[in-house]
Symmetry: C2
Subunit: 188 residues, 2 copies
C-alpha cells in the first residue's frame, strides 16, 4: 500500500454535527459545530472546539453554560445556515423553539431529537480555538426518538460532516455489534 | 413534542471510531477510541479522551506522542478486538503492520486508510479521563483512498459507534453540501 504525505490540516472522518446553544446578552444564539466529543465518563463531560473569532464563546464565558443539540436530517438546511451566519450580524434566536432546563444560559432546541445542557468546567486556551469542557447536567430526548427508554440512532437520524469535501452524510447500515464482534479473535 | 429526561451519561450520536497508536516500554500498542475530535485549526490539533485506567496513557506520557488511525469497515473485527483487550495482558503489537513518521512513539497502522502522527501539547486531567491534546505533525493516506489529492470518505469507508446500544454503523447516503445548503435561507 502506497502511503502519501497529505496536508496535516486533515479532518477526522467523519464528524458528528451538533448545534451549540448559548445566550449572549440575554438572547439565545445557535451555532453549528463539528468539533465535539465526550471527554469524561464520570461525571459525564463533553468538549467543543470553537474558533475564538466566533460569537458563541462570548455567551459561554458570560454564563458558564452551553447546550448541545443533535439535529435530525430534515433540519440540515437550518443547521447549515447556523454555521453560515454569525450571531453578531444575524438574529438566530427565532429559528427554533427554545426550552430551558436547570441552567441559565443554555437554551436548548425543541426541534432537535436529543439535547444536553452543560455547565462549563474548564476552558483550554489553544492557539486559534477555545476548547470548552462542560459537564452534562441534564439530557432530554423526544419520546418519539426513543426505543425501550433509550435514544434510537435510526429514529434520531442525525447527519455527519466530512472535510475538506464539505459534505453532510446520513447514517448507513448496521455493521456489527461493538464490544462483541472482536470476541472471536480474542478466544482463538 | 414530548421531551423526556434521560440519563445524563448520554453519548454523542454518532461517534467516529479510531485506533490510537502508542509505544509502551518500547512496544507498539493500539487501542480503540470513540471520544476524539479536532480541537484547534492552526496548528491542527486533535484531542482524545481516555479513561485513566487504560494502558495507552502510559505510552502517551512516556513519549509525548500518539497516532490516530482511521480503520476501514473491513477492519471492524480487529478494531473491536483492540477495544476489548488491554495492552497490559495482550500483545497487540503484531496485529498490524506498523510504520513510523517523524515522531518517536507514535506507531501508525499501514492497513488503516488515514493516519495522523501527533505530538502531545497538553493533558487535561479530568476526574476519570485524561484528555490528551496533540498537534498533528504528519498525516498520511493510502493513494487508493484518495480522489483528486484528498482523502475520499466513500473510499475510506469508515464506521461509527453509537451508545448505549453498542453498535457500529457505516456511512450512509449523501445528504447535502455543507456551507452551501443553508444559503437559500440566508438570502430570503
Amino acid at each position: 500500500m502506497q502511503k502519501l504525505n497529505i496536508d496535516t490540516n486533515v479532518y477526522l472522518y467523519p464528524m458528528p454535527v451538533v448545534l451549540v446553544g448559548v445566550e449572549v446578552q440575554g438572547k439565545p444564539n445557535f451555532m453549528t459545530v463539528g468539533w465535539v466529543s465526550r471527554v469524561n465518563l464520570k461525571p459525564p463531560m463533553i468538549a467543543i472546539g470553537i474558533n475564538k473569532a466566533h460569537y458563541t464563546p462570548k455567551g459561554i464565558q458570560e454564563n458558564g453554560a452551553f447546550s448541545i443539540n443533535i439535529p435530525t436530517r430534515s433540519m440540515v438546511e437550518v443547521t447549515d445556515y447556523c454555521g453560515l451566519v454569525s450571531g453578531r450580524t444575524a438574529d438566530k434566536s427565532e429559528l427554533f423553539k427554545a426550552f430551558c432546563g436547570e441552567l441559565h444560559g443554555a437554551p436548548m432546541i425543541a426541534e432537535c431529537p436529543l439535547n444536553m445542557e452543560c455547565k462549563l468546567v474548564d476552558t483550554v486556551d489553544l492557539p486559534s480555538n477555545y476548547l470548552f469542557i462542560g459537564e452534562i447536567v441534564g439530557a432530554y430526548c423526544g419520546e418519539e426518538f426513543m426505543t425501550d427508554g433509550n435514544p434510537d440512532i435510526k429514529k434520531i437520524d442525525p447527519f455527519l460532516l466530512t472535510m475538506p469535501d464539505k459534505r453532510y452524510w446520513g447514517i448507513g447500515e448496521f455493521v456489527a455489534k461493538a464490544w462483541s464482534v472482536g470476541k472471536e479473535r480474542k478466544v482463538t
